[in-house]
Symmetry: D2
Subunit: 332 residues, 4 copies
């Protein structure tokens, strides 16, 4: 293959899932990236149309990792880490979309491994700086992206009541569960239905959020309840936070905190899935609740689980790691 001197060759591991396909589509339209390979073990040899280009899936063992300067791993949790390390050894910058290296899942120092940066650029200036200099980045989970970015400005302002419990209810479209054929994800099972799952503490994203909240100094508990929506894409999180003091203008706080951020939208209206699908944004509003003894803030936050919740944020991280414009190739 022949690349322009300015073109950065990119590989995608695990490209047949929803997130992997979305990365391929974003790379196809990216001004600087060009797809070098896309692997999909079970679908090797099959073709995919993504971003207006035809892609042929390779077997993982048939690609040369050193052909790529940037590697995205959308491999399953558990299977990803080995390939991430292999790609890094081959010299590539690597964005790992699995949970293998995320805080609370193995990315924390307690696992004996040096923590890789958590790829959520808007979390703090320090986070963005760490991403810019990293060889490996742990791309955040979809739920944590929608919830943590709704909490970060409150925590940074010292507004979350110490010792309080944050209640985060979230609802996700079905694509969040992947495209492996499972009976419970069939159309005839999901349509017209809605239910909670992973109740109590079983969802891996809970550990990721608790560890990240701890790392930014929050002294709170977190209750997280995900739900399955009968839509394809999108996550809405509804978050109840006890504040240490009332906020007269919560939107102003969020607007200040995210001033200049190209992918953060603070709105007066309630954000909805339609506002955000196919876009790499987090859309947030916040409202003080009337009639409670303790000051209580209701924050709602919408993302596209496959964009800002996965592939879009991964490309955003790759842009930062490569010194490319952070917005390059991303629909905002």
């Amino acid at each position: 293959m022949h690349y322009n001197v300015n073109t950065i060759p990119v590989g995608v591991l695990g490209a047949s899932g929803y997130a992997g396909r979305e990365i391929c589509a974003l790379v196809a339209r990216h001004p600087r990236f060009a797809l070098s390979f896309a692997t999909a073990n079970e679908q090797r040899g099959q073709r995919l149309r993504a971003g207006g280009r035809d892609i042929t899936f390779s077997a993982p063992d048939d690609v040369r990792l050193e052909d790529a300067e940037v590697v995205f791993s959308a491999l399953p949790h558990g299977a990803s880490l080995t390939w991430v390390e292999r790609a890094a050894s081959a010299g590539a910058r690597v964005i790992d979309l699995s949970s293998d290296l995320r805080p609370g899942n193995g990315g924390a120092p307690s696992s004996g491994r040096t923590a890789v940066p958590y790829g959520m650029p808007e979390l703090s200036a320090a986070t963005r700086a760490r991403i810019c200099g990293a060889q490996i980045v742990a791309n955040p989970g979809c739920y944590p992206t929608s919830i943590l970015l709704a909490l970060a400005p409150l925590q940074a302002s010292g507004l979350i009541a110490s010792g309080s419990t944050i209640v985060a209810n979230a609802a996700s479209g079905v694509s969040g569960a992947g495209n492996a054929p499972k009976r419970e994800l069939l159309f005839a099972e999901v349509s017209d239905d809605y239910r909670a799952y992973g109740v109590g503490n079983s969802h891996r994203h809970l550990h990721e959020m608790r560890a990240t909240l701890l790392s930014i100094g929050a002294d709170t508990d977190l209750v997280f309840t995900p739900h399955l929506l009968p839509v394809s894409r999108g996550i809405l999180s509804t978050i109840t936070v006890t504040l240490s003091e009332p906020l007269t203008d919560p939107l102003a706080l969020f607007r200040r905190a995210y001033a200049g951020e190209p992918f953060m939208e603070i709105t007066e209206d309630q954000p909805s899935l339609r506002d955000v699908v196919h876009r790499n944004v987090v859309r947030i509003t916040a409202t003080m609740v009337d009639g409670t003894r303790q000051p209580t803030l209701l924050v709602t936050s919408a993302i596209d689980n496959l964009m800002k919740g996965a592939a879009g944020q991964a490309v955003q991280n790759a842009n930062l790691m490569c010194g490319v414009d952070e917005c390059a190739g991303l629909p905002a």
Copy 2:
């Protein structure tokens, strides 16, 4: 018209909305009730097929209220009260599905009117007794039905932490918003979308719940956030409650509290809309949350907003008021 000596003639006011139609269908299949009239001002003269019978809508002024021993009012909030009083004066037992006489909305003593019983038989033995002896009953809202019955056993056991905040997130199918043609309820607007509404304290159901919680002795705050689901029917409520002490077997508590109740289903699995649509039941599970400093219980509760959340509960109340088997004519 001619009735069997055992047949109870029934009138439905405001029969063209979703709840009104559902009442007509339930009455059509009821072993003791027979439809005497169904009014719908704008659709007067139009016919409706409900419960296998043909019904012709009358104008409200063209019916004789004294022809009915039981009158259901599914008229809009505000418009219902006058007709409820007129039907009661004509001697009928009346079930008012509007909010006009509900606690926190005018049914409370503060309004100068003697409170009519709140038609939620499972709330307490005293509540059921009051319904049995009442001429007028205020049929509860759909959200309050799903939320209050998920909280009542905890409050009765003194388990809700004093001064704590209950966080109730709920998601409802679109039929909950009625069938008046509004742009924001069009298919092309609602499908693939999901959003919160009435955030803060603006939903009338919040006042109904706060007043009822107060009346059963709860010393708590309530944050309530409703959401609009892209499905036709069903409500799922996800409720986070701080307890005064941990519960080792929350399901046992709910099973004991609702033993013998034909319409309360306590399950180990997460309840889903599919489990409850077209049925007059509340389906509940409860799980202790791990990893929080204060004992925290997560209760989820599913109902069909048009059945146990409206028409079904109304017929259940009518059964009690008439001394008929509480389950008569109700799909459980």
Copy 3:
């Protein structure tokens, strides 16, 4: 197990699919049938709630076929025939929901096997008579049920133009494709989509319809194009027929032909899926098309693919075979 002298023990083979479950639910509510066993090889030991009863799936080899007087086979095409013959040898009356014995698929004399009756009672008086006396009945496919019953009265009246081509377009909900986990049936693949499939002549139902049309004397060609709808249940067929002469009142023809039939609904309005789901009916209207040189009739026909298109019609056939009221246990 102990049965009332009037109770007919029933077995269901392949009970874990959508049609099998629906049969179990119908049997549970049937006034004369009682479930003796329900097999599901891969889900053996699992429990199913159907028709208000709990059912435990058995392995096929663990049941005694002679325990059932009626056996429904909802096994896959190809796998069903052996079990149908085994159950018949054990003395049971058998309704085969697979295509193995249907006309055009092996049930025709050309296969060397004596044809078993085609279980579509409304097709003709002779068909119903054959079903009543049969030990084995081939239950029709869902598309053929909706299409052939829309054509039978026209053929019986000699109205279909000789040598003409009938164009049948049909759209089915996803449950028609079964509940085996396949990627193309995932919610995130099916929702918001619509497409034709089996175009040309590849759908097995085409052979079933062509053979049946031939058997009732039709001298026509049939073009059949099925489509996949983003709904769970229901089939709508839209059929264009060239007539030998204009019909001034096509509804009258259909009403006469189906007079007394409990499951045939002839309407002036266009039938829709909502009219028929969860009911064992075929709902039909017919309209002459203006502005064509040859007299052309447009017939639309709606069924629930799992009821009149599968389980409901199977129970209807079993009722006839057992001398029970044809409507017993069937929602019309």
Copy 4:
């Protein structure tokens, strides 16, 4: 307002409907067009976010038509014509999305008015030429776009059997019915349903198609049956055509006919709504039907009803009328 010398000022009349909004969004992203005004009588003063820009709706009487060099009218049928003539008198090039000037609806010579060109560039080279030179163009209906472009190559090759009947079944998403609030378009009415409408000959698009077929020399009848799909966007047409002789490679015929056309996609797979939504394309496949006495071709054709079926085709026509690249501003 200030425009670049190369920028063409554009006005949109009736901008609050689905098609009008889509035009505004396309104009916002168009390299040469810039929105000068967008009218919406009932929503005057309201703001709309379209194509990343904020638009404020004006009252029709408050805009100066001469401020626009190109005017799109998305006004209702009947109300459009007056405004089209007014805009043309003011010197603008006008694309009328209503049916007022379409063939068979008033655009035909029989109405006493000189027919304006029919804005379907791919119909024939002569059609495109007429559009390029026109001041007013009648933008085609959505169903006709999907059906006529599936038939044009067959007619041009003389392959449609003389005197035969073309059967066109089509299914459209709900946005095709507009966003005026009507009860039958509510989510709770449309979801899970599917039905035919306008059966017989009542749909205005039928006249448009018959007149156009006549104008391109077809000696055939057309039966057209539209259906309402429970999706927001997209039309799939399934068309059965009797040929004068068998075609061994129907795809080759379509590929030749549409060689070089940027918006025509000929595929081997069955086109589906997902393939085309948000894109200004017609996606077509064609298959010979086996087992019929007369050679029969099955053509399926998918479009986005709001793009190639309305706003996209309107912008395509405007591009041609202004001498701009035909593809400018259009997602293909």
